[in-house]
Symmetry: D2
Subunit: 134 residues, 4 copies
Amino acid sequence: MLFEHDVAVSFGDCDPAGIVFYPNYFRWMDACFHAFLQDRAGGHAALCTALGARGLGLMEARLGFRAPVSEGMHLRYAIADITWSKRSLDVTYRATEGDRLVLEGHERRGVFVDDAAGRLRAAPVAPLRALLGA
Amino acid sequence: MLFEHDVAVSFGDCDPAGIVFYPNYFRWMDACFHAFLQDRAGGHAALCTALGARGLGLMEARLGFRAPVSEGMHLRYAIADITWSKRSLDVTYRATEGDRLVLEGHERRGVFVDDAAGRLRAAPVAPLRALLGA
Amino acid sequence: MLFEHDVAVSFGDCDPAGIVFYPNYFRWMDACFHAFLQDRAGGHAALCTALGARGLGLMEARLGFRAPVSEGMHLRYAIADITWSKRSLDVTYRATEGDRLVLEGHERRGVFVDDAAGRLRAAPVAPLRALLGA
Amino acid sequence: MLFEHDVAVSFGDCDPAGIVFYPNYFRWMDACFHAFLQDRAGGHAALCTALGARGLGLMEARLGFRAPVSEGMHLRYAIADITWSKRSLDVTYRATEGDRLVLEGHERRGVFVDDAAGRLRAAPVAPLRALLGA
C-alpha cells in the first residue's frame, strides 16, 4: 500500500438504518488523498502554488460497498495504486475494518488550471508526479 | 426522465478551490433517490415497513464530473433509467446546470433485510418494483 | 421576516435515532444567510469583491432545538432580524415545520479582511449594510 | 479536562474562503461527545439500550469561533465540564490548535424517550450520569 489513513466512524456519520450514510465514505476517500498529499509534498495548497493550479480535482469517483459499517467502528483507508496518464491519474483505494474488506474505490483526478478565458482545463500531470515522487 | 430533483448550490457546499466538494454531489444524488421514493411510495420509512427491510442500501455508486459547479448555481438531478435485476436495481442519473451536462451518475442498490443471525443480506427486489410502479 | 429559505429534509440528513443530525441545522442556517446575500446583492463572492474581504465569517453561532424533525419534512428558515454593531452583525433566525416552531437561531458575523501580516481581522460592517440595504 | 478528541482538518472541510465551513466544527463537537460515550460506557447505542432511550439528543448548541482554522491543521477538542440538571446536562468544550484557543463550545443534551403517544420527551438524566461515572 502506498499510504494509509485511519477513520473513526461516529454516530453522526450514520443514517436512520444505523449504517454509514454513503457520501461520507467519499468524504473520507478524499481526506485520504489529501493526507497523502500532505505526507508527500506539504499538502494541496503548497502543490497548487508549485504547479500554478487551481486544484487537483475529480473527473470520476466510484465506490463498491462490500460490507456494512456502523457507529464506533474504525476504518483503514489505503491507497493501493496510482496509474498515471498524460492529463489524469487513477487512484485505487481499499478500506478495511479489522480483517474485513469494506470498500473498493477509485478516483480519476486531474491537475486543473485556469485557462486564458478563465475556464478550468486539465493540464499534464507529469509535474505533479515528480513532486509526489510517485 | 423518470424523476427530477432540484438543488441550489450554496457557499458551504464548495471547497477552497471554489467548486463543489465532490461528496456533496453524491449526497444530492441520494437525496434525489429518496425524493423519488417519497413521490412514488410515501418515502423510505414507509417502504421499509412494507418490505420488512432495514434499508434500500448501496452496493456501488459512481459519478463522472463533466463540468465544474460553483456557489449560486442550480442543479437539476434526473433519474434517467432504472434497470432491475433479481437482488439489485441500477439507477442511472444525469444532472444539468441550465443547458450544461455536469454529472453522469449510477447507483446499484439493494433491499437489505436482517437475516436470522442479524446480518444484512440483499433480498429480491420485485416487491419494491411493484410498490414503486417502476 | 426579512427573508425565507425552504429546506427539504432527506433521509441522509438524519441520524440513527431517525432525527436530523444537528450540524445539518447549522448548514441550512448558513445556506439561508447565503441565499439572502444572493437575493440582496448577488451573493457572497460579489460582496467580497466589492468589500475587499475574504469572507463574511462567523464569530458565534447558536441554535435552540424546539422540536424533533425527521425525513421527508419541510423546514422554512426565516431571518427574523439583523442588528448591526461597528464590526459585527447579529442575525436572528427561526425555523418552522408547518405551524410548529422547530428552531431558534443566532449568528454573529463579521466582514473579514486580510491585514498586512496576512491575518484575518474584522473590518467595519457599515459598507456591507449599505450594499444589503438592511 | 474530562476527555480529549483529536481532529485532522482536511481540504474538504474548508470553504471557498479557505477556512473551515463552520457546521463542521459542530460535527466534530458531536463526535467528541460520542467518543466520550464510547470511552466511558461502550457508546451511544449501548447506552440507549441500557436507558430505554431513543437518543441523547440536543436542546441547545453553541460555538464561539476564536481563531480561523484551515486545511492541514490539527484540532484538539476537550470536554472541560459537565453540569447536571434534572432533565438535561450542559457540556462545555474548548478546542485548541497547538497553543491557540480556537473554539469555545456548549451543548445542552437530554435523554430522549418515546412516550406512550410516540412523542419524544426528556427523561431524568441521573441514570445516564451513573452509567458515565461523571
